[in-house]
């Protein structure tokens, strides 16, 4: 019979006694000189030693056995519990650990790059149009209360013209009822943005820069692409997903350390949405017999304006922070555009 040396303690006093541990059938035999005790293996619990620390066997009478020879004792009682096996295996060598680290990074990256956007796309399909419109109403109210948006100073016919133009660009059976709002917004500058549920806000400042109707149509189509793709809701789900995952991992929601990874992940998602809206706009322009290059021309005009504005006032927040580089976007589907007329 195999015997393993161990330190036996009764759990009531600090003294340790040398003992021999062996096994016969389903019983563990602990012999201490002339005295010998038997325990059912099923009643014995093994606490595996972490790293180089000894294993501890907990016996049903409250006493313990400390065993330095971990391999022998684990073999004797029939292996580690399943839950402990993986972490012990993971920790046994640096090579295994680094491999696991790489695998973990790959899994996290895949989940972030493909898993979460896919999940968000599926989830937002369950949100009714009415809810989206409510969200848009709240956002508009907030923007107006904070005086970021003010009534347009341009004639009402302009808004009507935009509305008519947008209607020609939309797909035949859209679930949304579109509405273009023209607003004066000095703090926001030249911009157009889509709210969920089909509301597209165009600023007076944008109309001042872009006076070619076709380029304006391209930008409207791009925003309609955001609405059709439900990008606002998807961003909300994606951002929440990143935050929830990081919170679960670190166990702390308020930590400032989370701010940077969350912001980076979100910027990447919004770039993806911009690309999707771009290709929607390209398709819409082609259906109208227009050149997809128009979007790039329009964006370049905005960028030029924002640049000169920013040079004068470097504190201004950039509209292009979340957008792909404009030079990339002026090459729809890889084809080069001629310089704007």
């Amino acid at each position: 019979m195999v015997t393993i040396t161990a330190w036996w303690r009764d759990g009531k006093s600090p003294q340790a006694h040398a003992a021999n541990v062996g096994r016969s059938e389903d019983e563990l035999i602990v012999s201490n000189g002339n005295d010998s005790r038997r325990y059912w293996l099923a009643d014995v619990r093994l606490e595996a030693g972490v790293d180089t620390l000894p294993d501890v066997l907990h016996l049903p009478d409250g006493s313990t056995l400390e065993v330095a020879d971990r391999l022998a004792i684990r073999r004797l009682i029939g292996g580690l519990p399943l839950a402990e096996r993986s972490s012990h295996w993971l920790q046994q060598s640096w090579r295994v650990l680094l491999g696991a680290l790489l695998a973990a990074i790959a899994i996290c990256w895949t989940a972030w790059r493909y898993g979460l956007p896919l999940l968000a796309g599926v989830l937002v399909q369950w949100v009714p149009v009415g809810t989206e419109q409510q969200l848009a109403t709240h956002t508009l109210q907030w923007l107006q209360q904070n005086e970021l948006l003010q009534p347009s100073r341009l004639p009402a016919t302009q808004q009507q013209a935009l509305q008519t133009r947008l209607a020609t660009l939309l797909p035949a059976h859209s679930r949304y009822h579109y509405q273009v709002l023209l607003r004066d917004a000095p703090p926001i500058g030249p911009n157009a943005f889509a709210l969920p549920g089909g509301t597209i806000v165009v600023t007076d400042q944008l109309l001042r820069i872009i006076n070619r109707p076709d380029e304006l149509a391209a930008i409207l189509a791009h925003e309609a692409g955001h609405v059709e793709g439900r990008h606002s809701l998807r961003s909300a789900v994606e951002n929440l997903g990143v935050l929830a995952a990081l919170t679960l991992i670190t166990g702390d929601a308020s930590s400032l350390t989370l701010a940077l990874p969350v912001a980076l992940a979100n910027a990447s998602y919004s770039r993806e949405h911009e690309r999707e809206a771009d290709s929607f706009a390209f398709a819409a322009l082609r259906r109208q017999g227009l050149s997809p290059c128009l979007l790039g021309y329009g964006l370049q005009r905005i960028e030029k304006e924002v640049r000169s504005d920013r040079a004068a006032n470097p504190d201004q927040h950039s509209w292009f922070a979340s957008h792909p580089a404009t030079s990339d976007r002026s090459q729809p589907d890889g084809q080069r555009c001629p310089p704007p007329a």
Partner: protein
């Protein structure tokens, strides 16, 4: 910096020893981190058990090893409950601020109960030479101590914080037992005030050190035209974000160093006025780490964390624990070998159905 350890060589000295090495802890930490990330935090309960078993298992008093026996299931239950309550509290803010205030108040009122539960779990699952420690404080006494402590703080606008701290700590310590041995907290209000002043001075010292370091880096950055380079690469104004991140990191490092020092300095006073009563004899605990050692320790810790973006954390933790434990010993004529735990106490702690149902680790 060479630190001489003046460990007293006396017959009645029972030293603490700490034998954990940094490499092993790095492996443990990395493995825990990977599995925690892959399981979305669920593994963190197992991680806690493994870390506790590693750290306590490498700690010896009078030659006897400590050990941790917490069950990951209990810890996971506790964490999920706390997380659920925290989410409820967060969400309730958007439904109604009144409800959120009410929940916050409830959490405040539950704090003494939580403290008792946490102590009970922690001590019942910690052992020395495989003898379980035990917390036998009653919840009623906890409320008495905590309310006294809060009132002392509120009515003196925090000026009597040493008294408030001592009231709470006295309750927690005198109910912490190992067999018939029991911890006791002696009065040390004057010393705590002194330590408090020391903490403020150390915070100023660290502020000067990190300020000088930040200023130096800025000067060097300017000299090599860093702002222009960064602005050229990432667009104008991007240097501003770099500046903000840099200031934030420096502030965080300063806070880390100051809080680390404060904790250790206050702890030194408290430990030096803690005794272990055994068989009518009183054992003194002595913590003789020097102020200079502590100042350097926390400054270098913060710098290491700053420069390694937090990756130095395992190294920091092990060396801090080593510095602490290598300078603590128990003095007294009594014999720890005479300790006896009642077995029926153990049975009570394990067999109680309700305690089992409520067995949660609420201490995080």
């Amino acid at each position: 910096m060479q630190q001489t350890i003046q460990q007293p060589h006396r017959k009645d000295c029972l030293p603490f020893e700490f034998s954990a090495d940094t490499g092993s802890y790095y492996r443990l930490w990395l493995g825990n981190l990977i599995l925690t990330v892959l399981t979305l935090g669920i593994y963190s309960a197992w991680a806690k058990v493994r870390v506790q078993r590693f750290l306590l298992g490498h700690t010896r008093l009078a030659g006897g090893r400590f050990d941790y026996h917490g069950k990951p299931g209990a810890i996971l239950k506790g964490r999920l409950l706390m997380l659920a309550l925290f989410l409820l509290w967060q969400l309730s803010g958007s439904w109604s601020p009144a409800l959120q205030g009410l929940l916050g108040m409830a959490a405040f009122l539950l704090a003494p109960w939580l403290a008792v539960q946490a102590m009970r779990f922690r001590l019942a699952n910690t052992s020395w030479n495989q003898m379980r420690l035990r917390f036998d404080g009653k919840v009623g006494q906890a409320y008495l101590a905590y309310v006294k402590s809060w009132l002392t703080t509120t009515f003196t606008f925090g000026l009597f914080w040493p008294r408030a701290t001592l009231i709470r700590r006295r309750y927690l310590l005198q109910h912490s037992t190992l067999g018939q041995a029991r911890l006791q907290q002696q009065d040390c209000i004057g010393r705590l005030y002194l330590a408090g002043v020391g903490c403020l001075l150390s915070a100023l010292l660290y502020l000067a050190a990190f300020g000088a370091l930040g200023g130096l880096i800025w000067k060097v950055g300017d000299a090599i035209a860093l702002p222009a380079t960064v602005n050229g690469w990432f667009g104008s104004g991007s240097m501003q974000s770099v500046d903000f991140a840099f200031i934030g990191a420096l502030m965080a490092a300063w806070l880390l160093a100051s809080l680390g020092y404060a904790r250790m300095a206050i702890n030194r006073v408290l430990l030096n006025h803690t005794t272990l009563a055994l068989n009518g004899q009183s054992h003194r605990i002595e913590n003789w780490i020097s102020t200079r050692h502590m100042l350097w320790l926390h400054l270098s810790n913060a710098l290491a964390l700053l420069c390694s973006l937090g990756l130095a954390w395992p190294w920091v933790r092990i060396r801090t624990l080593r510095a602490q434990l290598e300078h603590i010993a128990l003095f007294g004529a009594g014999d720890l070998a005479s300790l006896r735990a009642e077995l029926n106490e153990l049975d009570d702690a394990r067999g109680d159905e309700l305690a089992d149902l409520l067995e949660l680790d609420l201490g995080w």
